[in-house]
């Protein structure tokens, strides 16, 4: 690694790779602890998955580790508007999981009794009549019951990204857009610099928060394996109408989901198996038709509504659908990862960033962080899912 000829020469206490929600939050919390930070973003701020998601959060997960993490993380998330000075447009319309098989409903009940109730986040198990009563727009044919999580909610991703962005700038974080990370300099097992397409930074720490790209980047730059693979998913939004869908509806059999935004747009998708890897940000008629059919089947009144816009983005999947945070002793000193959120990056990112920063700066590992260390892929001690929800 040369000394950065022709590049902007900088020095910083830490470099963060990726200016999505996770990277920006990490940069902000590092800066708040007095560290100088440079952020490399290969595109524009939020250009990856942070601005392509459905903007929903939940505390209910199919295992203890994620649920405990979520309870804390969501509390943090919901407190952000005031702290960041940007309105996150938070609301709690809840999540409604529609169930089409009795045995699945039973598993939910068990999960509620064994996990969610004891943790103080009970869900309501609804009968078909109760569904009809509370969510009259749903076609209950084939549905045996539902699980309603009133603690779950929605937010506006763009404003939270902007909040972290402006707050980070306030603290002097240097956010470089269109600056793609190119190399990490290691000397005697320690990080000494990091460079991008247009900058060279002397630093002792680098945090990989590059979402779906993290696995590929860490492999190519440092030959480190973190099992994060991109999975493309398509999503769409309709023209706005008066409020109708008063919760976030998920069909547990078809992986269909639908909700309504504050502006009135109906947002949703049906998740089809798509190829892996960095497929282009495109859409398919195959998906579009499947989505429209599921929408009309489950909520017949939506047949007259018009699809306004569709797009796609990547989930950053790990083998146990849980994020990876921290570092391994076998890695060069100063290399950290905060990624692989498997679709929960916006819900968990801010809190996870705070915990990671605490670990980086104070060396204190929060007990909530421990299950998510990269160590688990070495020992094979993965997070077990009682129910994929």
């Amino acid at each position: 690694m040369g000394e950065g000829r022709g590049l902007i020469n900088l020095s910083a206490d830490a470099v963060v790779v990726g200016a999505g929600i996770v990277g920006l939050a990490t940069a902000y919390y590092l800066a708040r602890r007095g560290l100088s930070v440079v952020v490399f973003e290969k595109n524009y701020v939020g250009g990856g998955s942070s601005t392509r998601n459905a903007g929903r959060y939940r505390v209910h997960f199919g295992n203890r580790e994620n649920t405990e993490f979520a309870i804390k993380a969501i509390k943090r998330l919901e407190s952000l508007s005031g702290e960041l000075g940007w309105n996150g447009i938070f609301e709690r319309p809840g999540y409604l999981w529609l169930v089409r098989r009795e045995e699945v409903l039973k598993r939910y009940e068990e999960l509620n009794n064994e996990l969610w109730k004891p943790l103080g986040i009970p869900v309501q198990i609804l009968t078909v009549d109760e569904i009809k009563d509370r969510f009259p727009y749903i076609n209950t044919k084939g549905i045996v019951g539902a699980v309603f999580g009133p603690q779950d909610g929605a937010f506006h991703h763009d404003y939270i990204v902007m909040g972290y962005y402006t707050k980070a700038l306030d603290l002097g974080v240097n956010i470089l857009e269109y600056s793609e990370v190119r190399g990490v300099g290691i000397e005697s097992g320690k990080v000494v610099n990091a460079s991008s397409s247009n900058a060279f930074v002397r630093t002792r720490s680098i945090v990989f928060a590059a979402g779906a790209w993290t696995g590929e980047l860490m492999k190519s730059l440092l030959n480190i394996d973190v099992p994060i693979r991109p999975v493309r998913r398509e999503i769409g939004i309709t023209e706005p109408i008066k409020p109708l869908i008063n919760t976030y509806v998920i069909d547990t059999e078809t992986n269909f989901y639908v909700g309504q935004t504050m502006r009135g747009e109906v947002l949703g998708s049906v998740e089809l198996e798509d190829g892996e890897g960095f497929l282009p940000y495109g859409n398919t008629l195959n998906w579009l038709i499947a989505w429209a059919r599921e929408t009309v089947r489950l909520i017949p009144s939506l047949r007259d509504i018009r699809v306004m816009r569709i797009w796609s983005g990547y989930y950053e999947m790990t083998p146990d659908h849980s994020h990876i945070m921290g570092r391994l002793d076998s890695w060069p000193e100063g290399v950290y990862v905060l990624s692989g959120f498997s679709g929960h990056g916006f819900m968990f990112g801010p809190y996870a960033a705070e915990l990671l920063v605490k670990y980086m700066v104070d060396g204190v590992m929060d007990s909530l962080m421990r299950p998510f260390l990269p160590q688990r892929f070495v020992t094979g001690n993965l997070i077990k899912e009682a129910l994929v929800i």
Binding site: Y44, K242, R263, I289
Partner: protein, 601 residues
Amino acid sequence: MMSKRPWVAEELGRGNYGVMRSSRYGEPRGFLCCEWWCEGYWASSGYYNLCGDKPTMPRKTTSVPSILRGLAKPSSFPRNRLLILLWPIIRERVRESLNRSSIDELPAISAKTEYVKVDSDVLVVGGGLAGLSISRELAKLGFKVVLVEGEDYLGGHLIVDDVEIRELGRGNEFVNKLGREVENLVTVYRGVVFDGFLEDSVTGHSRDFTKLYIFSYKYLVLAQGFREVPLVFPGNNTPRMITGLSALKLVKWWGYRPRRLLVWGSDDWGVRVAMNLAQQGIEVYLGDNSAIIRSDLYRDRVGSSDVKVLIGTNIVDSKDTGDGLRIVLENLRGRKAKIRRREEVVVDAVVSAARLPVIDLPAQLGASIVYAPEIGGLVPRRGFTGDLGLGNVYVVGDAGGLLPEFLVIRQARVTALSIGAREGLVGKDDLDREVAEFKKDLVNTNSSYYNVLLRFEQGLHGTGYYAEPNVTHVPMWAAAGTTEDVERAIKGADKQYLCFCEDVTLGDVLEGIKVLMHGREVRVKVLHGEEEEYKSLKLPSMERIKRVVGLGTGPCQGKFCLVSTNLILSFIYQKKPGEFGIPRIRFPETPIPMATLAGGE
């Protein structure tokens, strides 16, 4: 189509120009556009078929008291401390206050919908002069051509144009005849909207929403022409602004009888709009901020017509007085101007003939969009043959840059021969000869036309050897004008609406830029010694601006605002339009109902 008098014509007849209400503030909204692609804009406020005989409107419209307007502004709404504090209490009210239709008010979609597969050698999108011309040429070469037109009629803008056009005669006669000829030669789908591109399909849908078309083609020709967009001037949200094409349709087909109109835009089309309206006995003013009438072809004819000319002026204020729109115009060149001219006119409405090439589809396909002020601002980069360099996609006519009609016809022939040559149906010599003729005509008409296309072919489009934005076709905002003019115009930024779907003003956008620049004030006036710093100053992209203020996120998909905002910002900050870029244009071009997509029943 010509017989049924639309509801909106009745309303205008009784002086009600504010037929719609904005979604955010609920104030009367009088920008009127009676073309198929405007449906998205209407839908943002819950209106449908506004120019049909029975439009759908929200049962209940609300309005925000002016005292709360400041809080609701797109630029301050997400950051207002009071709103953040009160959010849990007020969010339901905010949600309910937006003017939208409820689900049961939406126009019902037929119970039966179907998918229709359409195969072709060449698919032509757009049935105006360019699309018709190339369809005829291609059919003559033996291609199986399918033409898709969003309107229920062929002929595009010329359909209502009675003025003599060089080498064509009367526009409407020419295009009517051409349309009939083409309908006998190729398969024509009228009233079909082209949706755009998916990975596995290219689709369209019928405007009655009963059919989803799935197209296959070997070559694609984009001939979508130009679009007239809302003018941007202080108080342009005041009810009373109509696009040129809509105004002509309203007057000629539906008996709208205004006494006085101000037509803005003095290129070929603008002048013809003015002359057409004057022919109908309407008192017409023709305004533009150019130094002279832009149109080379009609400059002399305007002088000898009844049209009153207000060239070299900007609209600095406007107000709906109830019985007319009072407009104040001032000449350019700022305070230092020796002659200060101030005019006031009262008109029934402003007619926007500010036109921009339709670049959505090339942009969606990933063609590079470049800045060429000579031919209309932002255009897809293409060669003399219209080849977009994407393999099998061509652009003809105004969608590829605004050219006089006889050159459009000429280019359509070049493009057809070029496709023919690729298929071995046309000899290379024949194509070369035709291209040479086309080049000669370009040079003879206006050498800058030739130069700009040459620049595209030779790849100099990005080098920026030409002057900084000299934006001729920006709605109202002029090429001419000093820093003082810009500073003065920006003073009214909060009253100049850019995005009519989401009520985003120029002021909101400038504020959004300031936020994205971390509070750094970007001054319009650059002092000596600051040039270098200013040049290296990187302003935020339109993609990010969009995410801060919601510009272009309504159901019209930014058709009304994205290009004009880009050009206006480039002009204000003296940056190249490419530095701001335009946000990614997504599928579909125009909203499609779920029922149409789901098919069957």
